[in-house]
């Protein structure tokens, strides 16, 4: 069951201030609050769950080290997500260098064509959330290029705005808009025949 994070930014800000004033244990609360989502986010880039946990831990440690420079210009979770995304990307990059394999070309992946013409209006009765549809959506989501998958997950799972996603993913808002739209279109091509 998905657990949505309650973005109490004030609480985050207070915890960050405590850490910055020398209270190390305040950081534990930040870890506890965001560990699940950070692992989930890193898992979007790194398929192996054990590796994903390690990289998520590394992301938190990097966040602690960088916390001295955090001035609260953006929300803490946006800042933390960005660190997690960069850590996961760097991990993949380092692994690719070691193995000699190449990463998925994001630009190429984003050039996925839109879904074909849709059929007529479906009745609401047909939109029941069957297990088959659920599985199809999960598979489609897992098969998406990582940048698209992360963008739509941040939107649907975390309820982030396009602007927040752009900050977390370090890209323009227009790119976020395009990634989310294309991710939906790609999943739609798979679920449309089932409905």
């Amino acid at each position: 069951m998905a657990q949505h994070i309650n973005y109490s930014e004030q609480l985050d800000e207070d915890l960050v201030t405590l850490v910055q004033q020398g209270n190390k244990s305040a950081f534990d609360f930040l870890v506890l609050k965001y560990q699940q989502r950070i692992i989930q986010l890193v898992n979007s880039y790194i398929k192996d769950p054990v590796e994903a946990q390690d990289v998520a831990q590394e992301a938190f440690i990097k966040a602690y080290r960088a916390l001295g420079g955090f001035r609260g210009d953006a929300a803490f979770y946006t800042w933390l997500y960005r660190i997690a995304i960069n850590t996961a990307k760097n991990y993949n990059l380092a692994r690719a260098r070691r193995s000699g394999s190449s990463e998925v070309d994001v630009q190429e992946a984003e050039a996925i064509e839109n879904a074909p013409q849709l059929q007529g209006l479906d009745s609401p009765e047909r939109l029941l959330l069957t297990q088959e549809i659920m599985d199809t959506i999960k598979t489609a989501l897992a098969d998406l290029p990582e940048e698209m998958r992360v963008a739509i997950e941040l939107r649907e799972f975390d309820g982030m705005s396009y602007e927040e996603i752009a900050l977390a993913m370090d890209c323009p808002v227009g790119t976020v808009r395009s990634r989310i739209f294309r991710a939906r279109a790609a999943i739609d091509t798979l679920i449309n025949p089932l409905l």
Binding site: M1, A2, Q3, H4, T17, V19, Q20, Q21, G22, K24, F27, D28, V31, Q35, Q36, I39, Q40, N43, P49, A52, Q53, A56, Q57, F60, I61, Y64, L67, G68, N114, A115, Q117, L118, Q119, G120, L121, D122, P124, L127, L129, I133, M134, I137, K138, L141, I152, E153, R155, E156, F157, S161, Y162, R177, S178, I180, F181, R184, D188, I191, N192, L195
Partner: protein
Amino acid sequence: MNEELNLKLSQYIDNELEPKERVVFEALLNKNSELQARLERYQLMRQAIKLSPVTEPVNDFLNAIKQQLEHEPIYFLPKRKRVFDNFKPMAIAVSLLLVAVLTGYSVKTIQLQLQEVAGTQVAQNAVNNNVATVSAKAIEYPINKQISDYLQAHNEELVGNVNPPYQPYARVSSYGQK
């Protein structure tokens, strides 16, 4: 279906359309059954993604981080004085006022000093004028001439040191009369 329309639909479901755009799009949506069907699928997609299983952290996830952070330095950044952040414009205004007051005070002090100097010069001039006036009046009034002669004779005796250093006023006066 038009790709631009699909993009608008994606923005619409995410509440990322401008209010005017939203009104226009809703009007279009009400007429377009194909668009409505797609909107329902997008909503279904959203529901499915939200229901995706969450990856649980391993038991020692936090402990592993804590162990690594044990060797990290503790932050000792100064406390943020947020209360005073709102008073920045006021503080600047007060500073400017203080500077203005001090500058005004300094100018006034200089002016006073200048006035004092001018006053001294005026007094000096007045004294000189008085001396000149007295000399003129000494000629005009015999008694004054007598005093003047006395003083002159007294000075000459002091310098010459021939006679006793002073003579009685009556005697000097009698010289003058003679």
